[in-house]
Every structure is written in structure tokens, then in C-alpha cells.
């Protein structure tokens, strides 16, 4: 029995899961440093700080001793070949892992056995923590997996005769990932059957329309929606309208049942594009830790939705407004440590220079009318602060958590933004639709900050910081493909173009991934 030696690959080690980078001031940067007029509640003992994921060490640790991996037995070879051949079920490419020229039957040579073992190691790494090279993570993608070298685990699995079980344990076990895996199979199946044909452009299609494009619309909807019959008349009837509404909900569009230019552009996305979108989202699932805390706030900046989980169950959700293109809300993990009631807004210099000072010059008195005051800074440019109150850009609540981008969740006086269906409009912070409900949920059980005490505080404009007795983890994520509660695949528009960027970085676009 020969033995292959595999040294750990420092180059493949991902940076430690957590926060790296330091581009400050993307959003309302100075707000964290705001000189808050702290109320009596701030005398509460400081909440224990949840340990943040360890930052990457500037000095790499010495490489561990090489792990000795036994050669694969004949049964293990078959198991390996079977698993690697279906790596595409996870959005990976079998050719990246299966050595070329392996005999279909018969024993492998020592070199082939070693090459197959190398393929297993690459697969184990990629299916568990993804294909992104640590050096290729953009700064705004702070949700990153812990480094993983599968050598020791593979050696143990082989020795214990548990190769299949070990390989099965590697992909994420989250329902969201498993649903995407099912969706990937389904959309590939649609593609294998010829996909769907684009609906010709033209005027609006709505209830009662008699149009030669209606049969094409029926066929298009039937490709994704099992409730739709693919054939029918050229008249837009009620069942078709309901099918359009269901499709609009799946795409996060206004569910009005009218097929205009916007809905048409979503319907006309080719199925291969949807397959790639699913693969990109599966890749991001691999960056999450193996388990999540039972109580947490999850944000999807791609769909602009916030959900509070308690005991691992969603108990509160709301619309959000996330950063616009160019001011993207970063993907990150942190912990909400306090709720600021009546927060002032310390305007970041960039926003002051690019947006507010020009308005003041065009309309003298604009700043004063909107509650801004100019704070002189010794030896520097004066800064702007907007007073707390109903017209404050931060509304009545701000939810603070540590992060290198100075972004946070906050209320807003511009409630109309939540009525939109594409809600990427902020400077990077996350505006939330139900800040009071979230505050009440996070402060529940707090002897000081009862709902009545919060009510009293809201009667005035005095700023107070209510520290949470137990910090609540917050995950700001980016999903553009997910299975809805009905099991159907939902897609969003990739507002930050991060799906495409990710696919390019892992080579899924360049090498023509199987669609």
C-alpha cells in the first residue's frame, strides 16, 4: 500500500472568518462617534461583548506537518469517482476534480491514485468553503469562511472507512442551500428541454388583451410554474393574469398582473442566466459558518428584506432600503449592541460635500431649515450634524453594531421608499420599515427600556443609547436566488452585479460552466 503525502496549501487557506479591511466612512461614518446626550439608561453595565471572529493574523503561522493520506482502496476509488462525477450538482465543475485519463474499470496506477486523491482534496475544499481565493475577496464581501485544509479529515475518513459519509457532510446543510441545489437541478432540466423562448417585445399585455404574443407568454410561464397550462387561446384571461402575478412575486416585482417592459425583461432572461445565478448564490452559502445563532437579525441587501429570528424561527420581518449601486451595503457579520433612540445624524464628509453644501449654495438657508448645524473643526473643514427628531435622516431609531464601514440599521422619515419594489437607494446603511417593532423585540425583558419608557423617550428629541443586555448577531447577506416558502425559485436582479463578479472570480463564467 503506497502512501501519498499532502502538505497543507497555505495559498489555499482562507483568511479567518470575520471582519477585515478598513474602508471607513462609506455611509454615515461620523454617527458612531456622535457626541450623544446620553440619558440615565447609559449607566447600565456594559453588555458583554460577543467575541468577533478572529481577524486574520498578519504573520502566517508556520505550516503544519504534512498529513499522510493512504492510497485509496478499490471501493474508495469508486466512491470518489461517483462523487466527483456529480460535483455539478453543487454548481462545481467535475473536470476540476476528476483527473483526465482514468480507466473506467480496473485498478489505478499509483500516480492516478494520487491524482484522484488530489481531486478529492480540491473538491472537499471547494464544496465546503467555496472556490474564492482569499486574495480575491473584495473589501465589501466581509462574510468569509474560515480556512479549511481537508487533508487531515480525508486521511481520517479513509482510515475509518467513512469516505462517503465524510464527503456527504461537507456541503452546507442549510435549507436555503439545499433548496438551491434542487433549484439548480430543476433549471438545468428546463435548459436540457430547450429552455424557454423570449416573448417578443411590444405593448403591455394585461387582462383582456387579445395578442398574438399571449400564447408565447403562456408557454414561458408554464416553463417555471407548474400551475400554468402551456397551451391556450390568444386572449389574456384570468388564470393567465394570476400566473403573471405569481411570476412577478417570484421576481420581486410589483404584482399587478400586467406584463410591461419591466416584467418582460425578467421573463426574457435566458434559463442559463438563472442557472448561473443559482450557482453564484450556492457559492455564497459556503461562506457562512456551519451553524447560526438561534437569535439573530438577517438582512438580504439584494432583496432589501430584514428578518428577526428568535429560537431559530422568523418572528418579525420588514422591508428595507439598502445601499444603491456605488454605495453598496457590505456583506458582514457583527452584533447589535445598542439601540439609539432619537439619534442625530453626523453627516459624512462625502455626502456633505457632494449633496448638502451644493443645496445650501443653491438655496441659502437649506441647512438651517432642515435641522443641520455646522460644527467647526479646528484646522479642518467644518462638519454637519442634523439634529434628532422626526425630520432626522435616521428617524427615531438607530441599531448600532461594530463594523469597519460604519453602516447600521436605522429608521427613516422617508417611508415612501418602502413602497418601491427595487429598494436599493441608501448610502450603504439599511433603512428599515418597522424600527419600533425591532427595538421592542431587541429590548424585550429589559427592566429599564420597557415599551412605556421608550414611548416617553419618543415624546421628546433627547438622544439616548439603550445598550442590549445581550448582543444580537446581525448578518448582512446578499441573495439574488432563493426558494420561497412555496418551494418555487425566486430571483432578484443582482442590483450590485455581485453575482457576475463572483462567477468571474471563481472562473465559472470564463470556463463555460455546465448550464
Amino acid at each position: 500500500m503506497s502512501a501519498n503525502k499532502h502538505e497543507k496549501r497555505p495559498g489555499k487557506d482562507m483568511g479567518a472568518y470575520g471582519l477585515r479591511g478598513g474602508r471607513l466612512g462609506r455611509c454615515l461614518a461620523l454617527a458612531l462617534a456622535a457626541p450623544l446626550a446620553l440619558g440615565s439608561a447609559t449607566a447600565q453595565p456594559t453588555a458583554p461583548v460577543l467575541p468577533l471572529p478572529p481577524a486574520a493574523s498578519p504573520v502566517p503561522p508556520p505550516p503544519p506537518p504534512p498529513v499522510e493520506i493512504a492510497a485509496l482502496s478499490a471501493d474508495q476509488v469508486q466512491t470518489a469517482l461517483k462523487v466527483l462525477a456529480v460535483a455539478d450538482q453543487h454548481g462545481l465543475q467535475p473536470k476540476d476534480y476528476l483527473p483526465a485519463g482514468l480507466p473506467q474499470d480496473g485498478a489505478l496506477s499509483a500516480a492516478q491514485n494520487e491524482a484522484l486523491t488530489e481531486g478529492l482534496l480540491r473538491y472537499a475544499h471547494d464544496v465546503r468553503i467555496g472556490r474564492m481565493d482569499p486574495d480575491k475577496f473584495p473589501e465589501l464581501w466581509q462574510v468569509r469562511p474560515a480556512a479549511y485544509d481537508p487533508s487531515a479529515d480525508l486521511a481520517k475518513a479513509l482510515a475509518d472507512g467513512r469516505l462517503q459519509a465524510w464527503l456527504d457532510s461537507l456541503p452546507p446543510r442549510y435549507s436555503g442551500y439545499v433548496a438551491l441545489k434542487r433549484g439548480l437541478a430543476r433549471y438545468r432540466d428546463i435548459a436540457a428541454k430547450g429552455g424557454w423562448k423570449a416573448i417578443p417585445e411590444g405593448g403591455k399585455l394585461e387582462l383582456g388583451s387579445a395578442d398574438a404574443r399571449v400564447p408565447a407568454l403562456r408557454a414561458r410561464l408554464a416553463a417555471e410554474d407548474p400551475q400554468v397550462v402551456a397551451t391556450g387561446s390568444a386572449t389574456f384571461d384570468k388564470p393567465l393574469e394570476e400566473a403573471v402575478i405569481r411570476a412577478q412575486r417570484r421576481y420581486g416585482l410589483k404584482p399587478d398582473g400586467v406584463v410591461g417592459a419591466g416584467t418582460l425583461s425578467y421573463l426574457n432572461q435566458p434559463v442559463g442566466q438563472r442557472v448561473l445565478q443559482i450557482i453564484a448564490n450556492m457559492e455564497r452559502w459556503r461562506w457562512l459558518p456551519p451553524t447560526m445563532p438561534a437569535t439573530r437579525v438577517q438582512v438580504n441587501s439584494g432583496a432589501a428584506i430584514v428578518t428577526l429570528f428568535q429560537d431559530d424561527k422568523p418572528v418579525l420581518s420588514m422591508k428595507a432600503v439598502s445601499g444603491k449601486k456605488g454605495d453598496e451595503t457590505p456583506m458582514l457579520v457583527s452584533s447589535i449592541h445598542s439601540v439609539v433612540i432619537n439619534p442625530p445624524w453626523n453627516v459624512p464628509t462625502r455626502i456633505a460635500n457632494e449633496e448638502l453644501w451644493p443645496k445650501e449654495r443653491a438655496n441659502p438657508g437649506y441647512l438651517e431649515r432642515n435641522g443641520y448645524r455646522v460644527i467647526p473643526v479646528a484646522g479642518g473643514q467644518p462638519r454637519l450634524q442634523q439634529a434628532s427628531g422626526d425630520s432626522s435622516a435616521l428617524g427615531r431609531f438607530k441599531f448600532d453594531f461594530d463594523n469597519p464601514f460604519a453602516v447600521y440599521l436605522h429608521d427613516t422619515p422617508s417611508k415612501g421608499g418602502f413602497d418601491r419594489y427595487a429598494r436599493q437607494a441608501s448610502h450603504g446603511c439599511v433603512r428599515i420599515e418597522k424600527p419600533r417593532a425591532l427595538a421592542d423585540a431587541l429590548l424585550a425583558g429589559d427592566a429599564t427600556w420597557t415599551p412605556e419608557a421608550v414611548d416617553r423617550q419618543l415624546e421628546g428629541d433627547k438622544t439616548v443609547r439603550a445598550r442590549l443586555s445581550k448582543q444580537v448577531p446581525v448578518y448582512i447577506l446578499y441573495w439574488t436566488a432563493f426558494a420561497g416558502a412555496d418551494g418555487q425559485m425566486h430571483f432578484r436582479s443582482d442590483p450590485y452585479n455581485w453575482d457576475r463578479e463572483l462567477l468571474q472570480r471563481v472562473g465559472a463564467l470564463a470556463s463555460g460552466v455546465k448550464a
Partner: protein
């Protein structure tokens, strides 16, 4: 008279023979064992008051599971949109033999 006596004796002999044969064939061998006779409880057990044997409550039909409200449905939809982070159970894997 003698003839009658002989007939009766022959009949009795036939019955006895049939019984003997049936015993040999063990017709009741596959039957469930007879229920043991319950012994009378010991004095101290007998003195223990019997467990209250209230009549069993009438079987009630299980209350129908309340359909989720529109708000609850919306929360579920939103939770799916923010990432379904519930855990899928691991699939059982057939045992493998360690390499020899």
C-alpha cells in the same frame, strides 16, 4: 344384551384410541400459551388502594392547525428571502467497510 355391551365397549375403545392418536399428533402445539392464572395479590398489595380508575375522557378530535395569518405568511416569505438557515437533517449513509 351381550351384543349391546360389546358395541358399547367397542365404541369406548374407539373414542380412547382417537384421543390417544390426537394427543400423539399434538394438534394444539401451535396454539398460543394459555393465559396464566392470575394469582391473588399479596396481602400488602391487596391492601393498597387501587389506582383511581376514573372513566377515560371522551376522545376529542385534534384541534385543526390554525392556518397562518397573512402576516405570518409574509414573515415566512421574507425569511426565505433573507436565507433559510434552518438545518436539513443529514441523509443516512450506508456503512462502508474500512480498507483492509
Amino acid at each position: 344384551m351381550l351384543k349391546k355391551v360389546l358395541w358399547i365397549a367397542a365404541a369406548c375403545a374407539a373414542v380412547l384410541l382417537a384421543l390417544a392418536v390426537s394427543r400423539t399428533l399434538n394438534f394444539t402445539g401451535g396454539a398460543p400459551p394459555a393465559r396464566p392464572v392470575e394469582e391473588a395479590p399479596a396481602a400488602d398489595q391487596a391492601a393498597t388502594p387501587a389506582v383511581a380508575t376514573n372513566p377515560a375522557p371522551p376522545v376529542q378530535e385534534a384541534a385543526p392547525i390554525a392556518a397562518p395569518t397573512p402576516d405570518e405568511l409574509q414573515v415566512q416569505e421574507d425569511a426565505a428571502a433573507t436565507g433559510m438557515t434552518t438545518m436539513e437533517p443529514a441523509e443516512p449513509t450506508p456503512a462502508e467497510d474500512p480498507p483492509t
